[in-house]
Symmetry: C2
Subunit: 203 residues, 2 copies
C-alpha cells in the first residue's frame, strides 16, 4: 500500500467516525445500524467493514478520541494557568474555565463518553474509564501541589477534587447560554465559595 | 366496583410498577416489552393492559412516584434540620445527609428519573422535570432564608444552590461503600468547604 492510500484510508476512517458520531448523538448507539452509518458516509457496507470490524469498534474508537482530547485539554489548562498566574484564585478560575470551555465545545463527544460507555464490553470500558481517571488525577495533582506549598489548607484531597469536578461537570447539564451569567462568572463564584467560604461575618 | 376490588386493583398496579421498574433497571426501558412485564408479574398481557394502556404510561407513573418521593424527602430533611439545629453548619450537614441517604436508598428510582426520561413525550417530560425544579426550589428557599437572616454572605443564590446540588448528586455516581469515608464525613467536608473555604491562613 502506498503512502497516499494510507492517507486516504485514514481520511475515510475519520469521516466514518464523524458520521457515526452524529448518528449516535441523534438516535443513540443501540438504535443506530452499520447500514445507516454507511449510507451517511456514502459508501457501501463492505467498504465500511473494511475500516471497522463492527459498530462496537467505531464506538470504542470514538471514546478513545474523546478521552484523549479531554485529557489534553486539562493538561494544557493546568500548564497555562500555572505559568501565567501566581495566585491560587487566578489559577483555579483559569484552569476550570479553560477546561469547561473545552468540555462544552466537545459536548457531543462527552455525551457519548457519558451515556454510551455501558454498551462496551468490560475490558474496553475499563480503558475508557482510565482516561477519565487520568483526567481527574491531573487536577488532583495540581491541588496536591498547591496544598503542599501551603497555598490552601490541608484537607482530604480526593474529596476536594471531587467537589470541583462535580460543580464544573454539572454546568454541562445546567448551563444556559441565554442565562444572566457567563461561564466565567459562574466559575468565579464557584472558586470563591471554595476558597473563601460563604459564612457571614457575624458567625 | 366494590371497594375491595379497587383495593385489589391498586395492589396489582403497584406490583406491575415494581416488576416493570426492576426490568427497566436491568434491561433499560427501550429494550423491555409489555410481554416481559406481564410474565414477571405472572398475569396475562390482557390483564396488564387493563391497568396501564401502554409501556409509556408505566414509565410515566414510575417517574411521578420517584419525583414525589424525592420532593418529600427534601421537605422532611429541611423541616427536621431547621427544627432541631440552630446553627447553619449543623442544618446544612443534616439536610444534605438526609437527602443523600434518601437519594441513594432510591438509587434505582433515580436511575430511571435520570436516564429514561428522554423516552417520554415532551409534555410528560415537562411534568417530571417540574418535580426536579420544585425539589431544587425547596433547597434554594432554605438558602435564601439563611441569607436573609444574615447567616451566610449575600451571593447569587442560584449558583450557590447549583453548587450544593452538584456535589451531593455527584456522590450518586462516585460514592463507594468500601471507601475510607462515610457519606456523613464526605458531606461534612463539602459543607465546610462551602462555609469556611480552603484558603491557607497566609493568603
Amino acid at each position: 500500500m502506498e503512502k497516499k492510500d494510507i492517507a486516504n484510508m485514514h481520511q475515510t476512517a475519520q469521516i466514518i467516525l464523524e458520521k457515526a458520531h452524529e448518528l449516535f448523538v441523534e438516535k443513540g448507539y443501540e438504535r443506530s445500524s452499520m447500514r445507516e452509518i454507511a449510507e451517511r458516509v456514502g459508501i457501501s457496507k463492505a467498504a465500511l467493514y473494511h475500516h471497522f470490524k463492527n459498530k462496537e469498534e467505531i464506538l470504542f474508537t470514538l471514546c478513545v478520541q474523546a478521552g484523549e482530547i479531554i485529557n489534553e485539554d486539562m493538561r494544557q489548562a493546568i500548564l497555562k494557568s500555572e505559568t501565567q498566574y501566581s495566585n491560587v484564585r487566578d489559577q483555579l478560575v483559569n484552569i476550570l474555565y479553560d477546561y469547561t470551555i473545552g468540555y462544552l465545545k466537545h459536548k457531543n463527544f462527552n455525551k457519548i463518553l457519558f451515556f454510551e460507555i455501558e454498551s462496551l464490553p468490560p475490558e474496553k470500558r475499563e480503558i475508557i474509564i482510565n482516561y477519565e481517571r487520568s483526567n481527574v488525577a491531573q487536577f488532583k495533582n495540581y491541588l496536591r501541589r498547591i496544598m503542599e506549598q501551603g497555598k490552601i489548607k490541608k484537607t482530604n484531597i480526593t474529596v476536594l477534587t471531587f467537589c470541583f469536578f462535580a460543580t464544573v461537570q454539572w454546568l454541562y447539564f445546567w448551563y444556559k447560554k441565554d442565562g444572566q451569567l457567563s461561564i466565567r462568572e459562574i466559575i468565579e463564584y464557584i472558586v470563591d465559595y471554595f476558597l473563601y467560604g460563604i459564612i457571614g461575618d457575624e458567625k
